[in-house]
Symmetry: C2
Subunit: 325 residues, 2 copies
Amino acid sequence: LKISDMGEFGMIAELREMLRGRGEAVLLPPGDDAAVFQAPGGALMAFTTDAMVEGVHFDPSYVSWHSLGYKALAVNISDLAAMGGSPPSFALVVLGLSPQTEGGDVRRLYEGMIDCADEFSCSIAGGDIVGSPRVFVSVSLTGALLEGRFLTRSGARPGQSVMVTGTLGDSALGMRWLMQGGGGNNPCAKKFLYPQPRLSLGRRALQMGAVAAIDISDGLLRDLGHICEESGVAARIFADNIPLSAAARATAQELHEDPLAAALSGGEDYELLLVAEKNDAVGMRAEIELTAIGETVEGSGVTVLDAAGRAIELKKTGYDHFKEA
Amino acid sequence: LKISDMGEFGMIAELREMLRGRGEAVLLPPGDDAAVFQAPGGALMAFTTDAMVEGVHFDPSYVSWHSLGYKALAVNISDLAAMGGSPPSFALVVLGLSPQTEGGDVRRLYEGMIDCADEFSCSIAGGDIVGSPRVFVSVSLTGALLEGRFLTRSGARPGQSVMVTGTLGDSALGMRWLMQGGGGNNPCAKKFLYPQPRLSLGRRALQMGAVAAIDISDGLLRDLGHICEESGVAARIFADNIPLSAAARATAQELHEDPLAAALSGGEDYELLLVAEKNDAVGMRAEIELTAIGETVEGSGVTVLDAAGRAIELKKTGYDHFKEA
């Protein structure tokens, strides 16, 4: 059976099964935003890795080397944020470069990565360059969980509030904008090129009672689906409550796209999706820029409701077409 | 300027320069076997990463998927060993897979990695699969430095003893053996496919007074050259003292190769190259299987001396031809 037949997720599930029950020293098994282990002395550390491959995860025709470097680090810091982790963090970088790669491009990639590191108190501790027919950037990152506990995908229970930071859909619309030749000054394009991991918000949410979290990298529906699956709950969210920015609405209009579709399925927003008891959620929203978009219930799966409380059929409405983005 | 014009080492040097002086939280700047940072609570952690790319670092025609997985983890553990680090360690794995990759091959790769993890008390904490036109394996690893200090490439001073663990050249000869269709039961082939990182020896050497270390991945001459450069010393080693295994001698004979050339320039042995004060070196050799091969002196560069004490001209003798291996 080839990967193309099994699917990437099928393969990942099998490999996770192989690792299950091994390594008691790992406090959180594979499958969450980051792994967690305990350093000598007792500190809890989150540990995560992510790779971006040319032609698969980025297209140099509309992603600059500077933003590629920035983003490659930012998506790892976002995983730390989703655990309720804290700066400082430490990153290692492996660059796969072809002999034809321009040295100046690699320097700009590093400049972008250093800019992101400076903004989020991350130290780029080193790395390596390897030869590769296709450019790739592989970053691994570790950072402390200073609360002595952490947020997982599996902590949600029925009857809790589902919330998101910021606005959704901007990044996917920004990517479409750039693909169609639009400039990088569009706020949506900026969010696609320079996502802002919610590092301080994640920890604050943990302090204020959040019980589950994930960063929105695959799109709201998929990532909320991950929380539901790992927690053994269902979720219903209200389409009208999903936060859309003015820029997303304007860009969607210019592109003849539906901003709600982008928000539900677009991905790469790197906002945090948080779950908390409804009582705690009120206090959190008073302090953190958070939008309540729905609630967890008994069952499984994610339902999107319209203003009249009717379930929206996602496939029929084309909300799915952003998934290929 | 393209990477092919600057050279990989030229590019790495430039990127290191960009990182210099940043991230005070990093206790050992980029350029050693691993980075070092301090976890909350004070524990020192080594942090390292390495990637293997199909067609560049391995050839599936003579490297099995099982050994690829084993080796991809082992070379990272070897970096931890070269710092004087300790188990348990924690690893993350990114696999770049093409849609044509067979699921069974990926499982065997993971089995090899798990076998290595079990032998060296490493926990594979998780990872990811990404699409890639060419298969790659990128591993990052962190482990504690329980001595509260660590071995670097820069700690050598003139007048000290230069020593190595195990025997050298086996791995390079084993690779040639496999390339020419030889079987994997040859001890040299085994060492190439399943290198044994010297994790416990590294820490013991640190306890007993070693002042500098590197793992031999690029070949004795190059790796000793790294120590000389980073420490600001020269080294002279005695060709007759370089430890060659019976298997290396026999395999070299069958291949019509010079085993000494393989030992000097072959690489991938993943033995430790250690430097210590001559007094301490005596005690270390009494307890650890170590061979004294030479000494550090004032100056720069590495000289190889024959039995009569004459410098061997390495280029003329063809000792260099293993470098391309």
